[in-house]
Symmetry: C2
Subunit: 280 residues, 2 copies
DNA sequence: TGTACATCAGTGAACGCGCGTTCACTGATGTAC
DNA sequence: TGTACATCAGTGAACGCGCGTTCACTGATGTAC
């Protein structure tokens, strides 16, 4: 029983794992040049010095390789969000001391709910800016003719679940403002259209959907909080997408300050204002 | 001087205009099947019963046809937003009476700023749901290797300008809450990261960017309002993109109620609460 | 009104390219006795 | 330790396909006198 990283694996198994990784790496590289539709098995094989048919020993089809890349991407951004939210929490609780622990994703130092939420936002954006084509692969327009298999929904849920965990913790510590105070209080929205009602109150089908979501995620949060969290979630990705896809070119580019401002507003939206101050 | 629709145009000119339109129509149809990368001149020509080289009399290249589709799409969604915002305004001002005027896009009936903003939001979403592949073409991941020419920026600006016009009118009528009261007031956001400061105040580079934007658009609005308007704009498209691109599948689908709720919150964000009541 | 010429739309063949996937094969790696 | 067999990775050729773009051409439409 050796301590080598490849203990207990035959040369064949090691070679297979390594080549599988290299294929995906090369595919990712090509993704950034030609996009998802331009991803070509032949080109990947060529770059790896193999013949194209050899790839079929590793991935049964092009779509299968694409799926692997999608799952990897969801897991990568999900892990980044979880690490940022979790690391910030540990830092505040006086967690694993010493060493360069934690702050891998954005330098969040305060473990309050505000800091965790903000850190997760920055982590997602940071990952997106560092891996724009993988971001486009999972959050951009769907690849036509490609149907994402069920294996992707688990990894895809990691980011939203990371955000929900922050809210759940805040609620447990009694620092979550569940009343929807700061969001869109006051006068009437939705003048026409029937749904939406006359204020920020959540009812009807929307409340049902929120209840289903609460059940599915195990997040015991009031419907209003869940709905605002989902809206904040769409807000986050809306801003990142506009930044990456070039809609902000010529106005709010670079978007760092706009993003920070949006985070501050988002905290009010989800009911996290006043939980812990700055200066972590 | 006849009153015929084709007055003063030769048969050749008429045929050319008509075929140009038909080519774009067929290209749009193919867009919805195979996406932007799958758009093929040969396939378009085939569907039209022509030989592929004939298309080069109408569009000098595939990219050129794509550009035409992009410009058309921006103009279509821009016109929808303008009509919704404008029609709502006219209806309130007692504009063009009689006939089925105006409410083409979402049934906005009250001409207050709230109603106009909400109507514009619904118009954009309505257009997106009706033309998902054109939406993906302009707001989805960029087509790799395709560089949008300068002709697209004008049409692309129509939607944001429509929203800005609502805010400008509201400001002129003194019904715009420019203080950022409801957005993300209260405690501290941006615990770390330097930028963003300790509240919802806009300063530094962000204020500069807002000033540049105000200059460019001629919208004499305070920087804080502009920044929140831009954030609301990204929010709107973030939600539509998630709905169209399948991120809401299994939770908040159909998203009508969620969307209406988001509009209500958005009105608070941009400072339009309390401008005119419901029941237009 | 009629003729001579210029303009333009559409044809058909071709160039050169890349793609995903299959298949019979060689040779290396692993395993059972 | 050594041999016989099974497993598997990678090869090279091929199938059948579609693509964007060019080019010399025919024939119809428009224009000037």
């Amino acid at each position: 029983v050796s301590t080598a990283p490849h203990a207990g694996r035959t040369a064949r198994e090691r070679a297979r794992a390594e080549l599988t990784r290299e294929i995906k790496e090369e595919a990712r590289r090509q993704l950034s040049v030609s996009g998802a539709d331009g991803l070509s098995l032949r080109a990947v094989a060529r770059s790896l010095g193999m013949v194209s048919s050899a790839l079929y020993r590793y991935f049964p089809s092009r779509d299968n390789l694409l799926t692997a890349l999608i799952i990897d991407a969801y897991n990568a951004v999900g892990a980044a969000a979880e690490a940022a939210a979790g690391a910030a929490a540990e830092a505040a609780a006086g967690g694993p001391a010493g060493g360069p622990a934690g702050g891998a994703a954005g330098g969040a130092a305060s473990g309050d709910a505000c800091g965790r939420w903000a850190a997760a936002c920055r982590a997602v954006r940071g990952w997106a800016l560092a891996n724009p084509h993988e971001y486009a692969l999972i959050y951009g327009s769907p690849v036509p003719g490609y149907q994402a298999p069920a294996d992707t929904v688990g990894p895809a849920a990691r980011v939203p679940l990371a955000f929900l965990s922050v809210l759940r913790d805040a609620a447990e510590h009694g620092v979550l403002d569940a009343g929807g105070a700061s969001g869109g209080a006051g006068g009437a929205g939705g003048a026409a259209g029937g749904a939406g009602g006359a204020g920020a109150e959540v009812g009807g089908r929307l409340a049902e959907q929120a209840a289903v979501l609460a059940e599915a995620t195990g997040a015991a949060l009031p419907p209003g909080v869940l709905v605002r969290a989902v809206i904040a979630w769409t807000q986050l990705f809306g801003m990142i997408s506009f930044e990456l896809f070039g809609q902000l070119v010529g106005s709010f580019e670079p978007a760092d300050d706009l993003f920070e401002h949006a985070i501050a507003l988002m905290l009010g939206l989800v009911g996290l204002t006043g939980t812990g101050g700055p200066g972590g």
